[in-house]
Each structure stands twice: as C-alpha cells, then as structure tokens.
Amino acid sequence: MTLNLSRPKLARLVLFGTVTALLYAAMFQFESALIGFTQHGHWSFVIPIAAAFAVSYFHGGFTSTFWDVLGIQANKH
C-alpha cells in the first residue's frame, strides 16, 4: 500500500481528526448531563440532530481524507 500524503492532505487530516476527537471527548465528558437533557425531548431534539450534522461534517471529512491518504481512491478510469 502506498501512502498518498501531501501537506494539504495532512493538514486536513489533522484538523478534521482533532475536531472530531474533541467532539467525542466532549460527549463523554458531559455524558450524564447530555443524556439527562436530551431525554426531556421537545426542543432538546436539536442537540442530537446538531451533533449528527457536526460529526458528519468533521468526521466525514476526516474519514474521506483517511482513505485518500491510504491510497484508496475512486476509480478515475
């Protein structure tokens, strides 16, 4: 397997990976409060929905770059 690592890709990998790690760290850090709050339902529905969008953006960006760096890219032929 050949690594496909350039400076912009590395920067993207580190940035998106760090933000993703912080999001997950925050979730576990405030686990009880978060569950208590979201379990009330109603307008607290915004929290899981917003979290899902945030994770899909940052973690989605990280995973996409991750496979790219590993040389696993779409077929261009």
Partner: protein, 356 residues
C-alpha cells in the same frame, strides 16, 4: 445522574468496540447498495440491553448523517439524482409516519409478540419476492458476461411514457421525464418498509431500477438521498420524544462513516450488476434469519403449541447470528470486489511505468 434509572444503558469498552465494528460493516454495505447496513443494529443494541424504542431511535439518528455523507460522496461520482431522491423522500416520509402508526396499532392490539411477528412476516415476504427477483436478474446478467443492460424494463418504459400535465420532471438518472405522481407509491412503500424493518431501500432501490428505469448504481446512490430525508424526519420525531441515546448514535456513526466512504469508493471499481448481487444475497440470508424467529412469536401469541425457553433462546440467537452473517457476507463481497478492482485498475499504470 444514574443513567440506568432512565433506561439508557451504561456503556463499557466491549459495547463501544462492538458498535464501532457493526457500524463500520453496516456503513460499508450502505455505501455500496444505498441501504441495508443498519437493520442488524437494532437487534444488536437490544441484545446489549437497550430498550427497543431507544435502539430504533438511536439507529435512525445515526442513519441520516451517514446517508448524507454517502450521498455527497456518490454525487461526486455522478451516481446520485438529487431531484428524484428528494421527490421520493417526501412521499417516503409519509410512508414512514403511516408505517409507524400501523406499528403502534398492531402493538396495542397484539402486544410485543404481535408486533414482532408482523415485522418478521413482512421481512420474509418482501425479501423473498424482491430478493429473489434481484438475485435472479443478477444471475442472468452474470451468465451473459457481466455486462448490465441499462435499457429500462417494459414497465419502466410504460411509466416513462405516461404524460400527466403539470406533474412531469426530468430525472437525470432515468434520462427521461417522469411524473412525480408515479413516484408516490414507490416512496410510500419505501417509507412503510423503513418504518417496519428499518431498511426502506429493499423496496426503493429495486423499484427505481425496474419501475422507473434507473440504472442500478444510480438507484443505490439516489436511495441515500431518500434515506437522509426519511432518517432526518424520523430522528426529529424520536428525539422530540426523548428516545435518542446520543452516545449510541454517535458511536455507531463513528464506525459507519469509515465504512460508507469505502463502500462508495467501491462502487467505482465494480460492474454495476454487483450491486444487485450484494443486495439480493443479503436479502435472502436475512429472510432465513427472520423466518427462524416466526415460531417464537406464534408461540407467544398462543397460535401454535408453546415452545420451551431453551428452544426460544436457540432460535433467537441463531437468528441474530444469521443476520450478522448476512452483513458480513455482503461486506466480504464488497471488499473483495474493491481489492480486485483496484488491482486491475492499477495494472495499466504499472505496465506503463515498467514496459518490461
């Protein structure tokens, strides 16, 4: 706060690793065939002690962002008809709400066993009919050399020939004008199935292929848009009721986003008919999984002789194992196809670089 007192389970490392793994495999399958990766998660979470409604809600809350990421990825490869996906998504949402209503009514009348029997029976009937059809079609294409004929079926040609003024739109995927009225039954059926067995794509993808004349790769890519619309609406509904366990949803999402990217990349290396092979295979194996537990629910309802606790446990465990097996078989076919496809596509580059 004591989490167990409010019916959300305490997570340990084994649970987290298990959810990450199932999320990854589920994402891989969803990225490839447009759906079908998440159905194993609800029973898997329930086997960990998560209450049924929390498992369904958390599963749905991980599905819509996963579908969004997959749809964006596959859109880059030209495999998504956003307009068709959004139009189908609206009627699918209606199907989801109506399907949830049916489920509630059945549960009120016959209890948990009746509701489980209904889900399993729908699984078996739909998977036998649609899975058998899809697999047969894939087999025919394989026998004819693996080249898929993208010509629409006779039914699709008839659908495309319908002209209903004021309702026509151009579908990039079908390369034809279609009336949004004919998409309504497909969308509603997709939503109904999603509300019942959590995988609407088992109807949505084949219906797009055989009824609307959408090529298989475009159909599986477009299904991700429908899954996003349905999942977002369903997640808001469940989160409004306070049923989403955000930790479960985000952990599964962490694994599934790795998988869905890989599954989407995989579609660019394979012959389109492989989507049908993977989908048909998973559907038929899952059919057996659900058929195994039907006697359990019939027995609980008193419609057949009572089964012993041991028999019930064996049937349920075997069913879950077969379901996981379905997912692993699908993932195995995808990974193998991607590996072979990547090797084959790099061969010319290697040959050019080294003419010897």
């Amino acid at each position: 706060m004591d989490i167990t007192a409010i019916n959300f389970i305490d997570l340990n490392l084994t649970n987290i690793v298990f959810l990450l793994f199932v999320g990854f495999v589920g994402g891989l399958v969803s990225g490839f065939i447009g759906s079908g990766g998440a159905f194993v998660l609800t029973p898997a979470m329930m086997s960990m002690g998560v209450p049924g409604i929390v498992a369904v809600a958390s599963n749905m809350c991980h599905k819509f962002p996963k579908a969004l990421v997959g749809a964006i990825k596959r859109h880059k490869y030209g495999q998504v008809d956003v307009k068709l996906g959004l139009i189908l998504g609206v009627s699918a949402e209606v199907g989801v709400l109506y399907g949830a209503h049916i489920m509630e009514d059945i549960k009120k009348t016959w209890g948990d066993a009746g509701s489980n029997l209904y889900v399993s029976a729908i699984f078996v009937v739909v998977l036998a009919l649609v899975g058998g059809w899809v697999l047969l079609d894939a087999w025919k294409i394989h026998r004819s050399g693996g080249e898929e004929n993208d010509e629409p079926t006779r039914l699709a040609r008839w659908m495309q020939s319908l002209r209903i003024p004021g309702t026509m739109f151009y579908s990039d995927a079908a390369k034809a004008e279609i009336s949004w009225l004919v998409t309504i039954p497909i969308g509603i059926s997709t939503g109904l199935l999603a509300a019942t067995i959590a995988v609407g794509g088992f109807i949505g993808v084949p219906a797009m292929m055989y009824v609307l004349g959408v090529p298989s790769l475009m159909a599986s890519g477009t299904e991700l848009v429908i899954a996003f619309v349905m999942g977002l609406g369903g997640s808001i509904k469940y989160a409004w009721g306070g049923f989403v366990d955000i930790r479960l949803a985000m952990i599964i999402l962490a694994g599934s986003l790795f998988g869905i990217q890989l599954g989407a990349i995989g579609t660019t290396y394979v012959k389109p008919y492989l989507v049908k092979v993977v989908m048909g295979t998973i559907m038929i194996v899952v059919l057996f999984s659900r058929a195994l537990v039907i006697p359990v629910y019939l027995s609980k309802l008193g419609w057949i002789a009572a089964l012993s606790e041991t028999t019930i446990a064996v049937l349920k465990d075997t069913s879950l194992v077969v379901m996981v097996l379905a997912l692993l078989i699908g993932a195995g076919i995808i990974l193998r196809a991607v590996y072979s496809g990547m090797r084959a596509s790099r061969q010319p580059e290697l040959t050019e670089a080294d003419p010897v």
